[in-house]
Subunit: 240 residues, 2 copies
């Protein structure tokens, strides 16, 4: 294996991106294992909690790349780098490898760890975690992450309640140049070992309606409000 | 009344745009009355069928503009010009009026009638109708519409079945520079006089899943596949 190994939780697709700025766009996901956060409502604990690390495969850039190429049939698309927090993995060489074949890369991170290779991303989605997550935002780190980006850069903020909404508005005010995507939270995320766990779709939809009312009532017309399409389509099922 | 009157079916919002390139974005809809098409599965017959024309209000630019401004509280947003076919109404002066106050305009049309004021639109969504609609595409007119556009221009194609899908692929091949949005059709559109009519959400979702499988199986990675969010959120209810 040449270069540092990347800890991979799962590689799957092509499917459509279910949320945020690339919603509806075909993509292959590379989900890395490990996270420096522990959000109370984490919906990918199987890629976060080190209890599950025996399921994380150390893979070389070439091994990952061969799998992405196999899944996409060698036809360039946008690869979604997700986690966990993919920023804690050495992904720069993978991005270079894929760019060489015309693929594009989007990465989503909470913005707690900045990397110089963020500059190579086609899309950087920074998703700072609101109060309901139980996490504390490190604004210096967040600034650092955003300063690294050279491609399209957007904010995506999960909103469960009024405090989260206020947090999202503060974020938008702090970074007025960045498009903001608001996403109603899923209060029934999958336990890591039970992907057949039921999602309260009505509850998620009600939170979506509430959020639309908040945003339009506030005349916050620059925000975009989008649910997690994959949750509506596939519930908590993995690999889609 | 100065200038030609515009036939308006309804003005409502702010709500979010439920489909296509602006999905999730807050908007006020101006839905005009009248259409040169009669799609078999039309989901806005109340704005299409001249049986309902007594509900269409002839309004001046100023009257429409005052209502858009009232609904949006004077805060600029993107106004969605919809129908019916809004291209058969004299909308140029309305666009000018709104631009003067910092508003933006998106218009959706099937592409059967070209107008020079398309050049003033911020977003033009051309939605040619596939075989299941029962309509015949006039390619000369479609070309003319697209040639008028000066802002962001995208194709949106409703897909019910394999023939529609093949049509969509042909369209993408014909206009390779344009982003393509595919939208699963709603086979339970509202009758014009019954907005409480039930939508077969499971059926729409199944068609969405089928369409995702088609697109990813075909490696058509430039397409975007999006359902009608407003149908998932509000069913056939009007005014949202």
């Amino acid at each position: 294996m040449t270069g540092a190994a990347i800890r991979v939780s799962e590689i799957f697709g092509p499917t459509i991106q279910g949320e945020g700025v690339l919603i509806g766009q075909p993509t292959v996901f590379v989900r890395t294992g490990g996270c420096d956060y522990r959000c109370s409502w984490c919906d990918t604990l199987h890629a976060v909690d080190s209890e599950h690390r025996e399921q994380w495969q150390p893979m070389s850039v070439e091994e990952i790349w061969m799998e992405v190429r196999r899944l996409s049939g060698g036809v360039p698309l946008t690869v979604s780098l997700s986690g966990g927090n993919p920023a804690i993995q050495p992904l720069g060489p993978l991005i270079d490898r894929g760019h060489g074949e015309g693929y594009r890369f989007a990465l989503e991170t909470q913005g707690s760890v900045a990397r110089d290779w963020f500059a190579d991303l086609d899309v950087l989605v920074v998703s700072p975690k609101p109060p309901s997550s139980g996490m504390e935002t490190d604004f210096a780190k967040l600034d650092e992450c955003l300063a690294m980006a050279a491609g399209m850069t957007v904010l995506k903020i999960v909103v469960f309640d009024d405090r989260d909404y206020a947090y999202a508005k503060d974020m938008a005010g702090r970074y007025p140049a960045l498009p903001v995507y608001l996403q109603p939270g899923n209060h029934t995320p999958p336990p890591p070992d039970d992907e057949s766990a039921t999602v309260d779709i009505d509850g998620v939809m009600n939170r979506m309606l509430w959020l639309v009312d908040k945003v339009t009532g506030d005349k916050w017309f620059d925000a975009r409000v989008l649910p997690q399409l994959h949750v509506l389509l596939w519930g908590n099922r993995r690999g889609v």
